[in-house]
C-alpha cells in the first residue's frame, strides 16, 4: 500500500491556513514592514555615502584591500545601473540572516546543552538544507502571499541550519577544563554561557553567520520566482527574454555583493582572539 505522505502534508497546510491565518498575517506584515523600512533606508541614502561606509567597514574590520575591492565592486554596480536592485537583494539577505541568527543562536545553544534537542534537531536540519527549495516555495506563497515576505521565509529556512549547527559546534568545542574552571569559581549557568562559552565559540558562530549570509545570497534568484524584487528578478528577466547580457550583469552584481559580505563577515570574530 502506498503511504499517502503527500495527502498528509496537504491536510496540514490546509489546516494551518484555516486556523492560523492571523499568525501568518502578523508575521507577514511584521516582516514586510521590517524589510520595507530597511530597503527604504538603503535606497534613501545617497549611494556614494553607502559605498564609503561599506568600504570603510571592510577596511576597518578586515584590511585595506577588502575596503578597496568593496568600493570598486560597488561602483561597478552603480555603473551598470543595478544599484536599486542590489539594495533590494541586500535587504533580503540582511533580514533573512538576522532572523536566522535570532532563531538559530538560541536553538544552537539548546542543542549544545541538551542531547535530546540535538537528536531531534539533526534530521530536521538535514531536511531544511537538502529539501529542494521549490518544494516549500509554494506553501510559503500560500501562507504569506506574493512578494518578498515568502522569499524571506524560504531564505531563512535554507540559511538557518549552518547558524544552528556551528553555534552548537562552537559551544561543544569549548575545552572541558575551561568549563570546569568557570564552575570551580562558582559561575552560574548563565555566567558560564555569557562569560566563557559564547566568547570562546564566537569565531565558530561567526563562521555560521557567514555561511548563513552566503546561503541567503544563493536564494536571491529562487525567491525572485515568487515575486521578490532585486537582482534575482533581473536575472530571471534576462533568462526569460534570452537577454544574455542583462542576465550576466545581474549575476555579476550578485557575485560582487557576495564577495563583499563574505570578506567583511569573515573577519568578524577573529579580531579579538589572540594567541
Amino acid at each position: 500500500m502506498r503511504i499517502p505522505i503527500g495527502d498528509w502534508i496537504e491536510a496540514i497546510v490546509e489546516f494551518l491556513l484555516a486556523n492560523f491565518e492571523f499568525f501568518f498575517d502578523a508575521v507577514s506584515s511584521g516582516l514586510g514592514s521590517l524589510a520595507g523600512g530597511l530597503e527604504g533606508f538603503l535606497k534613501g541614502v545617497p549611494y556614494p555615502i553607502l559605498i564609503i561606509a561599506l568600504a570603510g567597514l571592510g577596511w576597518w574590520l578586515a584590511k585595506r584591500s577588502v575596503g578597496i575591492m568593496t568600493a570598486l565592486g560597488l561602483l561597478l554596480i552603480v555603473n551598470l545601473g543595478l544599484w536599486d536592485e542590489t539594495m533590494e537583494s541586500l535587504t533580503l539577505v540582511i533580514v533573512a540572516t538576522l532572523i536566522a541568527i535570532v532563531i538559530g543562536l538560541p536553538l544552537g545553544i539548546l542543542a549544545a546543552k541538551k542531547r535530546t534537542v540535538q537528536i531531534i534537531m539533526k534530521p530536521l536540519l538535514d531536511l531544511m538544507q537538502t529539501l529542494p527549495a521549490f518544494v516549500y516555495l509554494i506553501p510559503a506563497l500560500m501562507f504569506f502571499g506574493l512578494g518578498r515576505v515568502p522569499g524571506i521565509v524560504a531564505t531563512v529556512i535554507f540559511a538557518m541550519p549552518p547558524a544552528i549547527r556551528l553555534t552548537a559546534l562552537g559551544i561543544n568545542q569549548v575545552p572541558r577544563e575551561l568549563i570546569e574552571a568557570a564552575d570551580a569559581f562558582g559561575a552560574t549557568p548563565g555566567q558560564k554561557l555569557y562569560k566563557v562559552e559564547l566568547p570562546m565559540a564566537l569565531p565558530t558562530i561567526m563562521a555560521g553567520v557567514n555561511q548563513a549570509i552566503m546561503l541567503s545570497l544563493s536564494m536571491v534568484v529562487i525567491s525572485a520566482m515568487i515575486g521578490a524584487q532585486g537582482l534575482g528578478a533581473q536575472v530571471l528577466r534576462g533568462i526569460s527574454r534570452l537577454d544574455i547580457g542583462l542576465g550576466f550583469e545581474s549575476g555579476l552584481a550578485v557575485v560582487i555583493l557576495a564577495m563583499t559580505l563574505d570578506r567583511i563577515t569573515q573577519s568578524l570574530g577573529q579580531n579579538k582572539i589572540k594567541d
Binding site: 575545552p175 577544563e177 575551561l178 570546569e180 574552571a181 568557570a182 564552575d183 570551580a184 569559581f185 562558582g186 559561575a187 552560574t188 555566567q191 562569560k195 566563557v196 566568547p199 570562546m200 564566537l202 579579538k272 582572539i273 589572540k274 594567541d275
Partner: protein
C-alpha cells in the same frame, strides 16, 4: 590547630545505577572485576582523612589512582556517590546548588593542571574572573592586580595568556585563585605541566607564599619528590583507596605496606631530607664561664678533639680545640678568652642534605645547625649522614 576539611567514608562510583557497586565492593571484588562484571568504575573507595587549617596536604598517586576524582569531590565538581565532605562544619555533599555556588565563590579556589585560563581575556581579566562572577565592581581589578604582583607578574596585566610561557600562565592561574582570598586552595597537578626547572621554582614560591598567607592547601601530584617537598602531610592513594597518610618522614621511614615501600624506594633522599633530619644532639658542650681544664676533661671523656661553646639561650659562640686548651693550661691561664674559634661552619635547619654534603666534606670542624636566632640545634656528624643516605637511619 583546627580541622578545616574532613572527609568521611567517601565513595565515587562511575556508571549507571552506581549503588550496585557497593554490594560488589562489600563482597571483596577488585576494581577490575567490578568494571568487567557491572560496567562500573570505582573512583574512590572509602576515603577518609582530615586537613588542618593552614596545612599543605598532598594527595599523591599514579594516574588512575583516583586523586583527581578526590580533589573534585572537595568542591563537588564531581558529586560523590556516598560519604561526607565537611568544610568548616558544613557538609558539601548536601548543599543546595545555590549554597554550593557561594562556597565555590568565597571559600575554595582551584588551580588546574593545564592552567585553564580564558584565552579571550587578558591576564588581568583572568585574575579578576572569580571576583567578576561574584559581582564585585571595579575594585576587582585592584584586587586582581595585587594578586598578580604577589605571584610576580607585575607589568603583564594587559597581555593575553597565549603570549605567556607555561610557568607564567600558571602564575596567572595561581593569581586567579588567590584574588578572591579563599581559605582553601585546591591545586590539581598544578605544576605537572611545567618543565623541571620552572617547576622547582614554582614549588619554592608556593612555599614562600604559604609562609605569608597560611592557606589550607590540598595539592594533587603524581610526583613523590614534589609531594615530599611541599607536603606537611601526604596521602598516598592507589586504586581509589588510601594506602597511607603521614608526614614525609613517616612515609619514607615507616611505609605502611609493600606498595608504599616500592613507591618510596627510588626517592633521592638527599633532596628530601634536611639538616634537621640528620643532625645529632651537640653533647657535650661547655659554657664560656668554664675554664680550659673543664673543656679538656669533657673532650677526653668523650674522646673528641674539639668542643662547642654555647652562651646564653644556647647561642653558638664557637669551638675550642683540645690542643689549644692543653696549651692554655700549661701557660696557667684560667679563662677561655682568646681560645674560642668563632669562624666555624654553620647551616640552617632546612638546608637539604644534597647541599649539606659538600660542606661537610670540606669543613675543618664539625658543621653545626643553628636556627635564625643563632641558637644551636645540633651538629652534623659524617657517620650519621652516611647512615641516613644508606636508608638505615631513623632520621632523628
Amino acid at each position: 590547630m583546627s580541622t578545616k576539611i574532613e572527609v568521611k567514608g567517601l565513595y565515587k562510583i562511575f556508571g549507571d545505577n552506581p549503588n550496585r557497586g557497593f554490594d560488589l565492593l562489600a563482597k571483596g571484588l577488585s576494581k577490575q572485576e567490578i568494571q568487567d562484571k557491572a560496567g562500573l568504575a570505582v573512583g574512590l573507595d572509602d576515603v577518609s582523612f582530615s586537613v588542618e587549617t593552614g596545612e599543605v596536604f598532598v594527595v599523591m598517586g599514579l594516574s588512575g589512582s583516583g586523586k583527581s576524582t578526590l580533589i573534585r569531590c572537595l568542591n563537588r565538581l564531581i558529586k560523590p556517590t556516598k560519604g561526607q565532605v565537611i568544610i568548616d562544619g558544613e557538609d558539601i555533599t548536601r548543599l543546595s546548588s545555590q549554597a554550593l555556588i557561594e562556597v565555590r565563590r568565597k571559600k575554595i579556589s582551584m588551580v588546574f593542571q593545564n592552567f585553564a585560563l580564558f584565552p579571550h581575556r587578558t591576564v588581568l581579566e583572568n585574575a579578576a574572573f572569580g571576583l567578576e562572577i561574584q559581582g564585585v565592581g571595579s575594585e576587582r581589578f585592584d584586587l586582581a592586580r595585587e594578586a598578580l604582583h604577589m605571584v610576580g607578574l607585575k607589568g603583564w596585566e594587559d597581555n593575553y595568556p597565549g603570549q605567556l610561557s607555561g610557568g607564567m600562565q600558571q602564575r596567572v592561574g595561581l593569581a586567579r585563585a588567590l584574588a578572591n582570598d579563599p581559605d582553601i586552595l585546591l591545586m590539581d597537578e598544578a605544576f605537572s605541566a611545567l618543565d623541571p626547572l620552572i617547576r622547582k621554582q614554582m614549588q619554592n614560591e608556593l612555599l614562600d607564599l604559604q609562609e605569608r598567607l597560611h592557606k589550607t592547601i590540598v595539592f594533587i601530584t603524581h610526583d613523590l619528590d614534589e609531594a615530599l617537598k611541599l607536603g606537611d602531610r601526604i596521602l598516598l592513594m592507589k586504586d581509589g583507596r588510601v594506602q597511607q597518610i603521614g608526614t614525609p618522614e613517616e612515609i619514607l621511614g615507616q611505609p605502611a605496606n609493600e606498595y608504599v615501600r616500592k613507591f618510596v624506594e627510588d626517592v633521592d633522599r638527599t633532596t628530601v631530607l634536611t639538616a634537621k633530619d640528620v643532625m645529632r644532639n651537640p653533647d657535650p658542650v661547655i659554657s664560656p664561664k668554664d675554664g680550659p681544664r673543664v673543656a679538656l676533661r669533657r673532650m677526653k671523656e668523650e674522646g673528641i678533639s674539639s668542643i662547642f661553646v654555647l652562651g646564653k639561650e644556647r647561642k653558638l659562640m664557637g669551638l675550642i680545640k683540645a690542643e689549644d686548651a692543653a696549651n692554655a693550661i700549661n701557660e696557667g691561664r684560667t679563662g677561655l678568652d682568646g681560645l674560642i674559634i668563632t669562624d666555624v661552619p654553620t647551616v640552617q635547619p632546612d638546608l637539604s642534605v644534597a647541599d649539606l654534603i659538600p660542606m661537610v666534606a670540606t669543613a675543618k670542624y664539625p658543621v653545626s645547625v643553628v636556627d635564625e636566632n643563632g641558637r644551636m640545634m645540633g651538629i652534623i656528624i659524617r657517620g650519621s649522614l652516611l647512615a641516613t643516605l644508606a636508608g638505615k637511619g631513623d632520621f632523628q
